[in-house]
């Protein structure tokens, strides 16, 4: 048999959800706006777009997915996934970004 107990989960106020939602929409408009800035700033544009995407993802993870209010084990688990993802990106792109440093026949 199971028994009923009072739940002590952190319930996020609706106001916080709405604020995060507005922030996400503002960031979305900023991303689109930044993409249409005059001139060719390929690297700058890429950095802006990805920084905004990361900020949006962090907002969703912390507030909508409640990681900010969750236990340390949840926090560790959530960050572990992205930590290994970053390792994969850095090692892979580190290869492709540095290939032209040492020209070798057959490599691009």
């Amino acid at each position: 048999m199971s028994n009923e107990q009072q739940s002590h989960v952190h319930s996020v106020p609706i106001r916080v959800y709405l604020l995060v939602y507005v922030a996400l929409l503002v960031l979305l408009v900023l991303t689109v706006g930044a993409a249409y800035l005059p001139g060719h700033h390929t690297t700058l544009n890429n950095v802006i777009a990805l920084t905004i995407a990361v900020v949006k993802a962090v907002l969703v993870i912390l507030y909508f997915m409640h990681v900010r209010y969750s236990t340390r084990l949840t926090w560790l688990w959530a960050s572990a996934g992205f930590f290994w993802l970053v390792i994969m990106f850095i090692l892979t792109l580190g290869d492709y970004f540095t290939r032209h440093w040492v020209p070798v026949q057959g490599w691009q």
Partner: protein
């Protein structure tokens, strides 16, 4: 506004509610970590080809509709909000509001799929689907443009599949809540579906700028 939280039942295999809730949530995150790595590999593939073919990717991405992508991003962000509200009302045991926002989330998810369907249809009509009928101007970029659209369909297709699975799971959840099934007595099932749904939203948060907003 202080609302009473709904009571939870403690299953016999757990010490207390804290441990019980943590087990479920960490279990769901374990699944999400595998999903992160799964999508991560696809994103890494995309980034490698984008780094090597910047100009051709820019040429190819101009055939995507930014207004439709923007609209769909708004739809998914809104669906994340309604899902978060579903969890909120679930924690307070408010069944009606919970069902209402769950159905709203499903409706937004289906809106996303319909818009995606129109976008795909447009690509078919334009001859931008990789294969024998692929046609691209300027012709010198045909090869890499085909690569871009292969990646486009693979990435958005995988994401759309996750959205479709989300709609199915939310549908099952809505029925279980509607019939007061014992498995959805507390908020944990809704919270876990919510975690999945927000993950799907995060994937799109990265897909949108990477595919639709490529700078020259």
């Amino acid at each position: 506004m202080v609302q009473e939280q709904a009571p939870q039942k403690l299953s016999i295999q757990f010490e207390d509610l804290h441990q019980q809730n943590e087990s479920y949530i960490v279990g769901m995150w374990t699944f999400l970590v595998t999903e992160i790595m799964f999508f991560g590999a696809v994103f890494a593939t995309y980034l490698v080809y984008r780094v090597v073919n910047q100009e051709a990717f820019w040429q190819a991405h101009r055939h995507l509709s930014v207004p439709l992508g923007f609209f769909n991003t708004c739809v998914l962000l809104t669906s994340s909000l309604t899902m978060a509200l579903t969890v909120h009302y679930s924690q307070h045991g408010l069944r009606k509001q919970q069902l209402l926002f769950l159905l709203a989330t499903m409706a937004l998810a289906m809106t996303f799929l319909v818009v995606k369907g129109f976008e795909y249809h447009h690509k078919f009509v334009e001859g931008l689907v990789p294969g024998p009928n692929f046609h691209f101007e300027p012709a010198e970029y045909t090869r890499v443009a085909q690569l871009f659209f292969s990646l486009y369909f693979a990435m958005t297709g995988l994401h759309a599949l996750h959205v479709a699975i989300g709609v199915l799971v939310m549908g099952v959840l809505a029925v279980l809540i509607a019939i007061r099934h014992p498995s959805v007595q507390d908020f944990i099932p809704v919270e876990l579906v919510g975690l999945y749904w927000h993950f799907v939203d995060i994937v799109w948060i990265f897909l949108f700028p990477l595919l639709y907003l490529i700078p020259r």
